[in-house]
Amino acid sequence: MGVVCVYFYPVPEGKSGQQVVDGIQKQIELLGAVKTGNFCVDCETFQAGSGIQNTPQRQVNILHSSEQPASCFAILDTGTCLVADALFDGLMQKLKHYYQQRKGSKIESKGQRYEYGDFIFKVGSVSQASNFKGILVEIEYCPCVVAGDCMNLMKEMSQSLLGSAVAEQQSSFLKTKTDMIYTPADTMSQYLEHFNNFKKATSVNQAMNR
């Protein structure tokens, strides 16, 4: 468990997502990293119905990660993240009169996992309802626990792998947590931020297409 940065890797015009993913993976393998299996991060969204007293309508996002298989991350749209046992899914079902699952909202990032020294790389292609949405690359530096300490180090690594354009993005979320101890919940928040961006992009595209 270390500090994680999740980067959005744009797919240039005229290239398929798979080609770009292959390119990144090749780059990672050239560095000397070793393939260590697959990973998956998924997210489901629950929307509050109108019937809750004295509370604005909230959204609950339930995320799972293959890196923490027994846990479940519930993130509210206020940013509060609850880490719980995987059994929390059962509790959400008990709340189905109040929070309904949005149809087709399930979005996930899936792909290869690599290890290189104390780094872990994950190249994931994002899909929602089996539609390809984009690429997310996760870089984890395990020995460090404070994001602020290793930000520049991470930047250097991402520059060498993904190019400086991608490395310049920095999650607004990470900026707020520079001196605190980093937790897997923070990783999930980053994923959620990217997932929401993808969803927004789709809705904008749809609007434009109309």
Partner: protein, 243 residues
């Protein structure tokens, strides 16, 4: 007349059969007692007794039954007495009686008690009659007194013992149903646990002032802030560290 004779005949056969049953039971019991006394145990003894007594019962039932003509009305008359051994008789009685003579007949066909016994009965009768009614009354009262006394003593003892044993089994009360109910109601429904100020708002329909209240530093909000600070400190130990 003939009908009655037939009836008598059949009932006699019945009785003989029953008596034979009793005899067999007795014989087998005696046999056991004599030969198996070493291995004989109490339950089998009781079984044998029960067998005999049931046989006796069925015999008396037969005797009391409607179909049997009143045997009392029949007279048994010894027609022939002879001092010679009678082979037929010996065969009938399985060798217990060899002759029907003057010696055995009074014993076997007796309808009245023996004379000595009769005398004794008469003696007791005269003695009872000789006591005056006053005296008898006195003695009766005395006896009643003594028995009632003994009864009292027995009753008082019984009460004492009952109390003793009750105390032993019941012990002092170790659990109370009402307290159980209070506790269970408290943990399952929060009965008696809600604070006085919260009770009306939280457990009944919402009041319009609720919105305002959530902005004020109400007790729940206070708790929130204290928790917020613990997040910073507590997040060091992540509750689900993965190796």
């Amino acid at each position: 007349m003939q009908k009655e004779e037939k009836q008598l005949e059949s009932s006699l056969a019945d009785i003989t059969a029953k008596v034979a049953d009793i005899k067999n039971a007795l014989a087998s019991f005696l046999y056991k007692l004599e030969n198996e006394f070493a291995t004989l145990n109490w339950p089998t003894m009781l079984d044998n007794f029960a067998l005999i007594s049931s046989n006796m019962n069925s015999l008396s039932r037969v005797l009391r039954g409607d179909k049997i003509p009143a045997l009392r009305n029949f007279t048994l008359f010894p027609v022939l007495l002879s001092p010679d051994t009678d082979q037929e008789l010996a065969k009938l009685t399985e060798g217990r009686l060899f002759m029907c003579n003057h010696e055995v007949v009074p014993d076997y066909l007796r309808t009245k008690p023996e004379t000595e016994v009769e005398d004794k009965i008469n003696q007791l009768h005269t003695k009872a009659n000789s006591i005056t009614s006053d005296n008898a009354q006195k003695q009766l009262n005395n006896l009643n007194k003594i028995t009632s006394n003994i009864l009292d003593i027995i009753n008082s003892y019984r009460e004492e013992w009952d109390n003793d044993s009750k105390q032993k089994t019941q012990q002092p009360q170790t659990s109370s149903q009402s307290e159980t109910n209070t506790l269970i109601a408290a943990i399952s429904m929060g009965k008696g646990l809600r604070l006085q100020s919260q009770m009306p708002q939280q457990s009944q329909q919402p009041s319009p002032g609720m919105q305002q209240q959530s902005q004020k530093p109400m007790p729940v909000g206070k708790m929130q802030s204290s928790v917020k600070t613990t997040i910073r400190a507590g997040s060091a130990g992540h509750p689900y560290p993965r190796p």
